[in-house]
Amino acid sequence: MIELKQVGKKYGSKRALNDVTLLIPRGKVIGLVGENGSGKSTLLKLMAGLLTPNTGSATFDGQLITRRIAARVAYMSDTDDFYTYFTVQQLVDFYVSQFEDFDVVKAKEILQFLNVSLHSKIKSLSKGNRGRVKIAVTLAREADIYLLDEPFSGLDPMVRDDIAKGLIRYTDSERQTVIMSTHEIREVEPLLDDIIVMRGGVVIAHESVDEIRDFYGMDATSWMVSLFKDQKERELGK
């Protein structure tokens, strides 16, 4: 379980997160949505132990989150940062050397499921196949939490579908938690249990997808639009 208590984060004088309090239980698939610059990536990096809060606290199972949490959390960045001269096989070997929980058999199975050859060089892969490799090596870790920064962004529908199916197939939603930032809410909604909405460094809503449909009678996309409208009206009314 991840717990954030009144977390604040600044980059220089720029405030990226403001008073964020969140409780993320085990075994949920959570979508993190919000405009660019709303703090999604910062929040993910904080949970991954890549950033430390300026104020408040971030804990995982009661332990303060530090860089060492990387042993239990699989973080997938939104940038391409593989060594391009590696082959896929060498990349897998590299992951084996870095992460104790990396499962080679699972990695090969996922890569096969996604139709990526182990012999290809990273630099010769298409953008879509680099996206597939990225998700494959991330999911091949037996982590407690997967933090995915924009796993679908900039990829064609076939790759997005592959990634979605890989996520369903290769994570165990009973004991593993997945948190992913995304702009493709309409498409991603069927994959989610909960949605966290951010705006200007603040968490403005945290709801279950079933609840949104049951209670508000609309899908997550329309709900989000109405949420933003309400917020703007409130700001103007001030």
């Binding site: 075994g27 949920k28 994570t171 939603s173 069927p190 994959l191 989610l192 997808v209 449909r213």
Partner: protein
């Protein structure tokens, strides 16, 4: 991603309806094994937790049964399926009649129209 869901109803309910439809039409036969939760979730592109809930509710409705270590099966009890058909029929007709009344149609008008057009969808 693989099937389109209506926006105003929880996804798990839409999946329950889909499976009930398959059972009532006979696409899923009595006693037939359902795919595993994970397999079916991957096939339709939904979260495995959602699919787990679908299977749990179908079991609570006694339309399916879980056999330990073997998976979920459509009930072999024909009575249960007949009861389900009747219940769904009643529900459908109730909703329909409410709209009929709201628009001020007479029952005769509607019955006639149904008889004329009944063969269209088969």
């Amino acid at each position: 991603m693989s099937i389109d869901f209506l926006p105003d109803k929880p996804i798990y309910q839409q999946l329950i309806d889909r499976i009930l439809g398959d059972i009532m039409r006979g696409t899923l036969a009595t006693g037939e094994k359902l795919p595993s939760v994970r397999e079916y979730a991957v096939e339709v592109g939904v979260n495995a937790n959602t699919m787990q809930r679908v299977y749990k509710e179908l079991e609570q409705m006694e339309i399916t049964e879980t056999r330990r270590g073997q998976g979920s099966f459509v009930t072999e009890d024909q009575e249960k399926i007949i009861a389900l058909r009747n219940e769904m029929k009643e529900q459908l007709v109730t909703t329909f009649l409410q709209s009929v009344a709201a628009f001020g149609f007479t029952t005769d008008e509607i019955v006639q129209c149904l008889q004329e057009r009944g063969g269209e969808i088969d």
